[in-house]
Subunit: 306 residues, 2 copies
């Protein structure tokens, strides 16, 4: 199946306790696309960049067989730019700069031949943009996955709830799940969020892994304990890209297969954070990917005969 | 094998967002003993209480077939008392009262027929007391497990390091592992702590589960996502009691069996927090315990064919 990913393609400038970058390639759709491409999934990006966006980055995406015909280039505009600094625990960060630039007036246009994409991944963006994409699809996608954040809950909750009502899977972090549901217990939060529409609720807990809820069932995917995390940027998007890439490739949206999909997402995210920006994801080989899947298996498997 | 558990038997007064108790039965050795007893392990407690300690609580321990001959009763003294209040996230708490009372001059005396206990669980106590217990053993136990906390790192690190050098397994929480090792990465922290003596390092992350490190290997036991946590008191000790109770019963200290042991510990801890104090652990049935083990299996198992 074809995966369509909507989200930012951006410049990031990142500082962590381990280093600092100039403007480098970033953005939700970038990470989603690269992660999904590692699974051999046909993935296309809908996004917008400015005239300052370097051709080498578009080439990099194309070299990963990512469809970029849906990336609009506004020649007299500037690319979305985010700059942030991570604290020592890497779980919290301060935003230094957010320049929306071309994103401010982004009106996504889906090319005709992508309107029948079977899996739609809505990266974190204004809910109005996410809604517009859903409405442009010629057929209802077989699976719609939504990523969002507290910013939209605070600024445009009504519109966000409209989007949430239309999706099959929502990915959200733990504090956002609590905010959206008004429940402190994640089990209760996931139940309430399912009532808003999504059949599957994925709660991301960063270095503490991710929970997948569906009806009364729950699955937990750990995060891989790593010697070093250089830069957490893009971990959540790599997770989403790995997950949706796997689902599109395997064409199976049952709970059992979603479990596998979030393990795949966790594996790719665990590589992303090992270097700054997209570097580690770009250089990742099939063999390394499989070896990490094996590590995930080892991490939680035990003899059930207790 | 016989399990010998050293630790506090105490009164606790607890307040959480869900309620408040008067002085109730508490203490590390209490939870360790009760948890271990659920596995049918022969467990004996070394501790001290005051003349104010209610007979009904000693009866409760005996009814669970826990050996209490090693619990010294100081008739003119008062039982150790702790009072605390938990914040909404249940991960942090403020201590309101700590009255050491009879614990202040606690000089543990191990009854002769317990000096050959094969498994020794050193609950969180002054390292001098822990060391005294190790030295009183007539034969070196086949397995020594240590629980400790930052308080002893800050106040008597040298002595604590002497104890750490003598144990096989250390259980410690994530921030304490970071403090003890000077490493932020838990993978690096666990490596450094192994160099201090313990072959196995268990890092407890509360609601985020526990990591078991041994040489280059790592295993992760999740915490069970629960609808409601009423009182986290005793979770860590129930974990330690379940773990050592299982190890003593199964008489197998290999890495593969330690994995199972920390799943057992996690399962018992997940019950403890469902009610205040020891209530849930006391009423826990074998059938419920097995059902929770099944839930743990379901929580992380997936089809490895990805």
């Amino acid at each position: 199946m074809k995966l369509l990913a909507v989200g930012t393609v951006a410049y990031d400038a990142i500082e962590t306790p381990f280093g600092k970058t100039d403007k480098i390639l970033g953005g939700a759709a970038t990470y989603i696309g690269l992660a999904a491409s590692k699974l051999g999934t046909e993935v296309n990006i809908i996004s917008v960049v400015g005239g300052d966006f370097q051709q080498k980055y578009l080439d990099l995406l194309e070299n990963h067989k990512i469809g970029i015909q849906g990336i609009e280039k506004v020649e007299d505009g500037k690319t979305f730019f985010w700059s942030g600094i991570y604290h020592e625990d890497m779980n919290s960060r301060d935003t230094l700069v957010t320049e929306l630039n071309v994103l401010e007036s982004f009106n996504p246009v889906i090319p005709e031949d992508l309107k029948n994409s079977e899996v739609l991944m809505l990266g974190n963006l204004h809910p109005a943009v996410q809604l517009s994409v859903i409405e442009q699809m010629s057929e209802k996608p077989k699976l719609i996955v939504l990523d969002t954040m507290d910013f939209w809950m605070n600024s445009t909750l009504d519109l966000l709830l409209k989007v949430i009502a239309k999706v099959d899977v929502i990915t959200i972090n733990d504090s956002e799940a609590r905010q959206l549901s008004g429940e402190f217990s994640l089990v209760k939060a996931a139940k309430k969020i399912q009532q808003l529409g999504p059949k599957f609720v994925v709660i991301k807990k960063g270095e503490h892994g991710a929970l997948l809820f569906h009806k009364e069932q729950v699955f937990f995917a750990p995060a891989m304990p790593l010697e070093e995390i250089l830069d957490p940027t893009g971990a959540g998007d790599s997770f989403a890209g790995g997950m949706t890439g796997y689902l599109a490739k395997s064409e199976d949206f049952a709970f059992e297969n979603l479990k596998k999909a979030i393990i795949v997402g966790s594996a790719l995210a665990s590589y992303t954070v090992e270097k700054f920006g997209v570097e580690r994801l770009v250089e990742l080989t099939q063999q390394e990917f499989e070896s990490r899947l094996e590590s995930f298996k080892t991490l939680t498997s035990y003899d059930y005969n207790i």
